[in-house]
């Protein structure tokens, strides 16, 4: 059986590009297939990347990548009606940056070209089948036979579905809705803010975000799909109120949406099959513990590892041993961090987190800052009793969470 290339990478986002770059650096012939006209044209992120894994792949990325602002201010806001609790933590380290994916991914695709990756844009994968000891990828530009596919086709993982190893269910996903608004942040040039907003989405499980870019801000929210099924609130109507509640004025530049994997360590889909490795969103890699939301660094990390494993498999001349990818992932930050976030992941699945606690926190603070002699705990207790909850379950939830 003769093949057209060593590896086909399906999807030209951060995960796929990282896989392609690391495989090409190892001397493999790599073809990357991207559906969009350019990398990033189909991607949306809330907008913050933790750069550690990008720096491993491209050591001077800080100087060259189109990063927007370093995140030096972390703001957390809990809302209950018109009451809000806000705190901001300021720091100087530059380990995360706001980004716009259409710019970042496009840049990384040029890095990939320079590393010898062949990128094919406007290329839609329409099917995949096992054949002659490899996988035949069907596209609008003809078929392509390879011994190894790295699947980086995003959250809905079409390639895995074509090969029959994956089904999608609503509880695995959140839908993210976003606007980019032209407004120059009132911050020094080398500072940026990330904001998490809790308790805004009409009883939906989810939260809001805000990231400051150089000349704009990215705002939006993410909500669990099953929660929308339940509450039947139109996601298309929430963004206007959200923008107003943030007090942001400026020309809206773009309106976008994306599905986000929400699976947790135990819920991860199969990450490999013979001749197939799955990276990034397609592999359900996301960490969200209520404070930190990470996806891009996991995509880059898993992609980089997949590229290296690809080289090893070629050396072994056995492309079925993709289990090596799983074990290397387990030894890396990718799986360690996803595993560590498992607890808070479960905590976030608790509906009380979205429905009850914001109210409790606001009630407690309301009484703290009001004239009167009612003691704090008593207020909280009353409030909780009303909700049919004991202090112990509150404590337990919070412990799970931290």
């Amino acid at each position: 059986m003769s093949f057209d290339a060593d590896v086909a990478v399906v999807g030209g986002g951060l995960g796929g590009l990282s896989a392609a770059i690391s495989a090409a650096k190892e001397g493999l012939s790599v073809v990357l297939l991207e559906r969009g006209a350019y990398s990033g044209s189909k991607n949306v992120s809330g907008g913050r990347i933790y750069v550690h894994s990008l720096l491993k792949l491209i050591p001077d990325a800080l100087e060259r990548a189109p990063l927007e602002r370093p995140i030096t201010r972390e703001t957390y806001e809990v809302r209950c009606g018109d009451r809000r609790v806000t705190f901001t933590f300021q720091k100087r380290n530059r380990d995360s940056f706001s980004v716009l994916r259409a710019k970042l991914d496009d840049w990384l695709s040029h890095e990939a070209e320079a590393a010898g990756v062949l990128t094919s844009f406007d290329t839609q994968v329409t099917g995949a089948r096992r054949e002659g000891g490899g996988i035949t990828v069907e596209t609008n530009r003809g078929e392509f036979k390879v011994p190894l596919v790295i699947e980086a086709d995003g959250v809905t993982a079409p390639t895995s579905r074509y090969l029959g190893i994956r089904r999608l269910t609503p509880e695995q996903f959140m839908v993210g809705v976003k606007e980019v608004v032209a407004t120059k942040p009132e911050l020094p040039e080398d500072e940026g803010e990330a904001k998490v907003v809790l308790g805004l989405t009409a009883g939906l499980k989810g939260g809001g975000f805000l990231y400051t870019n150089r000349e704009s801000v990215s705002i939006g929210f993410t909500v669990k799909v099953e929660s929308v099924q339940e509450k039947l609130v139109k996601t298309s109507e929430l963004i206007e109120d959200y923008r107003e509640s943030l007090g942001i004025e400026g020309e809206v530049l773009e309106y976008s949406a994306h599905l986000i994997p929400y699976m947790g360590y135990r819920g991860l889909p199969p990450l490999y099959a013979p001749n197939l490795m799955v990276v990034g969103d397609a592999a359900g890699m996301l960490i969200s513990d209520g404070f930190v939301i990470r996806g891009m660094d996991l995509a880059i990390g898993s992609g980089t590892i997949a590229g290296q494993v690809a080289a090893k498999l070629r050396e072994m001349n056995n492309f079925t041993r993709t289990d090596i990818y799983q074990s290397q992932l387990e030894d890396s930050f990718v799986m360690r961090d996803i595993k560590a976030a498992w607890k808070s992941f479960k905590g976030l699945s608790n509906p009380r987190f979205y429905e009850v606690y914001p109210q409790v926190i606001c009630d407690v603070l309301d009484s703290m800052f009001s004239v009167g002699d009612r003691r704090l705990l008593k207020v909280a207790q009353e409030r909780l009793r009303k909700e049919g909850l004991g202090l112990t379950s509150l404590a337990r939830d919070l412990l799970w969470f931290t």
Partner: protein, 258 residues
């Protein structure tokens, strides 16, 4: 002469094979350029300028039907991924000339230098680029090279050394004829550019890209680029067709437009 053959052995003439040089430009995708806060955001993905793709397609068709060569020349942004697109479409080789800002005259000078040394039968360009939109490059290269030019060709036919073209000179259409070598600029109507297959994309990586530098001293310097906006009223008329038509007619009479 011998020196020429040594430098460009692929351009040795065979019986029928026509050698075609095609110029194409890497430009910001104008459909992605946005105006925000009164400024143009030009930091957008690049592409092969629209009608240059038609020129590439035509060059490849001529090469395929006559068994010659098609060589691409690009000046300015030498983005590798975009150049590979031209190669995937069937261009055999690309000369990528990088330069700082240059005007169309500078670009023509750089290309004419290449063309003279390659001495092809035909040089093709798109009728205009989507950035500068001067439609000037083809005529200028022809002038520098000292051959005839046919602009705005919507079809061309080759018969030995005679080229016949249909020129779309709105509203007039002219059928013209001249002898090769010549320069032709083509309109979007001439063909539909092909979509390369994955295998062609693979093959493109083996094709040569020669890079060069060109020092330009432009006669026209670009001082500023600002959004070109015509403020419109943007009044929306909605409802039953009879009613909105009535409202529109009243409004147009008031404006003195009817």
């Amino acid at each position: 002469m011998l020196a020429d053959l040594l430098i460009h052995p692929r351009l040795v003439r065979v019986e029928v094979g026509l050698n075609v040089v095609v110029g194409f430009k890497v430009v910001p995708d104008e459909t992605l350029i946005k105006v925000s806060s009164g400024k143009l955001d030009m930091n957008v993905a690049v592409k092969i300028s629209t009608y240059d793709k038609n020129a590439i397609e035509e060059a490849v068709r001529i090469k395929e039907s006559t068994g010659g060569k098609a060589i691409g020349v690009t000046v300015g942004n030498t983005d590798r991924k975009t150049i590979r697109e031209a190669l995937s479409m069937g261009v055999d080789e690309v000369v990528a000339i990088s330069t700082q800002y240059t005007d169309v005259l500078g670009t023509a000078t750089a290309i004419a230098e290449e063309v003279r040394s390659m001495n092809p039968d035909l040089v093709l360009f798109g009728e205009t680029t989507t950035d500068g939109s001067t439609s000037g490059l083809g005529p200028m290269v022809a002038e520098f090279w000292g051959v005839p030019v046919i602009t705005f060709a919507k079809s061309i036919k080759l018969d030995g050394k005679v080229i016949r073209a249909e020129r779309s000179l709105t509203p007039v259409v002219e059928i013209v004829e001249t002898e090769l070598p010549t320069v032709v600029t083509v309109t979007g109507e001439i063909n539909s550019p092909r979509i390369p297959t994955l295998r062609q994309i693979m093959e493109s990586s083996k094709k040569p890209v020669r890079t060069k530098e060109f020092k330009s001293s432009p006669m026209a310097s670009l001082d500023s680029v600002e959004p070109y906006l015509v403020q419109r009223k943007r009044i929306v008329l909605e409802g039953k067709t009879e009613e909105v038509v009535q409202k529109l007619i009243e409004a147009l009479r008031k404006e003195g437009a009817l």
